[in-house]
């Protein structure tokens, strides 16, 4: 095949790597959230811990938007 084909495969590989990274990140978020239910702590602490996680999650959400990975995403065609 041509150089373009190899370049295209390389882009697909980069896109795959990013997607796997994001999926692992999402899995880690879910695992952390679920594990709160099993922590040996008082119920009131659990509620506060969950609220703290939700606020942290919102902060990460806004920070990721603010970081604006537009150029990187555009380059690999996610």
């Amino acid at each position: 095949m041509t150089e373009k084909y190899n370049a295209w495969l390389l882009l697909l590989e980069q896109r795959d790597q990013l997607l796997v990274y994001l999926a692992v990140y999402a899995l880690a978020i879910v695992a952390a959230w679920i594990s709160i239910d099993y922590l040996p702590i008082p119920e009131s602490w659990r509620v506060w811990l969950k609220r703290a996680c939700l606020i942290g999650g919102l902060a990460m959400y806004l920070f990721t938007l603010y970081m604006n990975h537009k150029a990187m995403i555009g380059a690999i065609g996610l």
Binding site: K4, L22, A23, L58, Y61, I73
Partner: protein
């Protein structure tokens, strides 16, 4: 009409409006133009053309009947997809009702289905995916309503709409068995497969025809994640929003899977099977046999995923539901904005190019296409600029090219570079899947031609229109 019904009908109306906005605005891209071309053929030619392609005939026959009535504009060719996409809303709502999901969960799921850019993309595409989605959801609903004849008929139509019905078959059998707890209750699905068998021979022939030239790539971990998140997103989500969108929807999906298994909600488990088992089966077949993972064909699973996600996000305290909505809604709206803003751009602007070509078109001119990609779209928008030929292929063809059988069915005529007249137009779209020999042949032809308009010039794609005129050949 109670409050829940009012909200449901408002969602339905919103879904209808969003699917109709700009329905005929974007041009038909390659796949849609192929649908339009096949649908315009007489039935015998239509079946010949499809026997060398990868799809069963039902959707094309449906479009054919529409075209026969004179409804062949871009708008009308997309109307069936819009209607089937809209039909998926009550079907999902009915499934949610039969499986005893709460009102809020059902409204959340159909609300997302109504405004999801993934759904609206296919609702505005002249392809068979929304029909396939409606058929599979109908099979599930009829299984839950214990209507075996209906299950048989709906499954039969699904089998004649998309080959992925064979992937959905075992999953639907599992749901049917879980509902009836009798192995004999599987007869509607088995009978549907029996009545599909005449097409099985054609399918084997199709697979032989396209072997070696199939464009689906080897399966990777990333491809599996891509197939999953494309159930939530359209193709045109703005780049800035993509990372957050992917993380958010994957997190919600993973959480939904865990919670459904934890709670052992029967309906949730059925929807989990419908949402993820077809993807898993496609992955197994791709690893064990040939790559077949096609995320578009997994559209019927998307509704099931929406339902379990809505179930999980709405079963906690109200503030948690509000929190989830606060995160998900902006992402969904950004996808929607991206769809209306970028979809027409992504689908191309061939009409403008063809209008320019008409300005310099002379009697006796012909168009020479280097490969199939432009033959199909030019047939749609430049049918008055005739004759048009495709350059005889070199020893290798681009991946995903039309087969010889399909070209014969469509009436595509090939021409050798030795038989070209003194003046002709060259249309070339070079992509990463084009072979080196095709690139060489095209470069040789355009070397002595005048560039008329360059349409693509990026790292991976190059293409445009050139005019060769023997009397104006540049000196070497």
């Amino acid at each position: 009409m109670n409050r829940v019904d009012k909200i449901y009908w408002s969602i339905f109306a919103l879904g209808a409006v969003l699917r109709l906005i700009d329905l005929g605005h974007a041009e038909l891209w390659y796949d849609e133009a192929f649908s339009a071309w096949v649908a315009s053929l007489p039935v015998d030619h239509l079946l010949i053309a499809l026997s060398g392609d990868t799809h069963p005939p039902l959707y094309y026959l449906l479009l054919h009947s529409l075209v026969s009535l004179g409804l062949d504009s871009d708008f009308w060719l997309r109307v069936p997809s819009t209607l089937f996409s809209l039909a998926a809303i009550p079907l999902l709502y009915g499934i949610g009702y039969m499986l005893r999901f709460s009102d809020v969960a059902r409204l959340g799921a159909v609300g997302f289905m109504a405004i999801s850019s993934a759904q609206i993309h296919y609702a505005q595409e002249a392809r068979m995916y929304t029909l396939f989605q409606a058929e599979i959801l109908l099979v599930v609903l009829l299984i839950l309503r214990r209507s075996p004849v209906g299950v048989f008929l709906a499954m039969l139509t699904a089998l004649y709409t998309h080959n992925y019905a064979l992937i959905y078959g075992p999953v639907l059998a599992l749901i049917l068995y879980a509902r009836e707890r009798k192995i004999t209750s599987l007869w509607p699905l088995c009978t549907a497969v029996f009545f599909w068998l005449p097409w099985a021979g054609v399918l084997v022939g199709q697979m032989r025809t396209i072997s070696g030239g199939y464009w689906i790539q080897q399966i990777t971990w990333g491809a599996q994640v891509y197939a999953l998140y494309m159930q939530f997103l359209g193709f045109a989500t703005p780049d800035q929003w993509k990372i957050v969108t992917v993380i958010s929807f994957l997190s919600v999906t993973f959480l939904a899977c865990v919670r459904v298994i934890q709670t052992r909600h029967t309906g949730g488990l059925m929807m989990l099977a419908l949402g993820l088992a077809p993807l898993s089966l496609a992955i197994i077949v791709s690893i064990g046999w040939v790559p077949i993972l096609l995320f578009r064909a997994l559209l019927p699973s998307s509704g099931a995923l929406y339902l379990i996600c809505a179930y999980v996000l709405t079963r906690g305290p109200r503030w948690q539901t509000a929190y989830a909505a606060m995160l998900v809604l902006p992402l969904t709206l950004s996808g929607l904005f991206g769809h209306y803003r970028y979809n027409p751009i992504n689908k191309g602007d061939l009409k403008t190019l063809v209008a320019l070509m008409r300005l310099e078109w002379q009697p006796g001119d012909l168009i020479l296409h280097i490969n199939d990609s432009t033959v199909v779209t030019f047939h749609r928008y430049a049918h008055d600029l005739r004759p048009q030929y495709k350059l005889s292929p070199c020893e290798q063809e681009p991946l995903g090219s039309l087969s010889t059988v399909t070209r014969a069915g469509l009436g595509i005529v090939e021409i050798s570079s030795n038989d070209l007249p003194d003046r002709y137009w060259i249309v070339w779209a070079d992509s990463p899947v084009s072979p080196a020999c095709e690139e060489q042949a095209a470069q040789t032809l355009i070397a002595n031609a005048r560039l008329y308009k360059l349409e693509l010039d990026s790292k991976l794609f190059y293409g445009g229109v050139w005019v060769y005129d023997k009397n104006q050949v540049r000196s070497p």
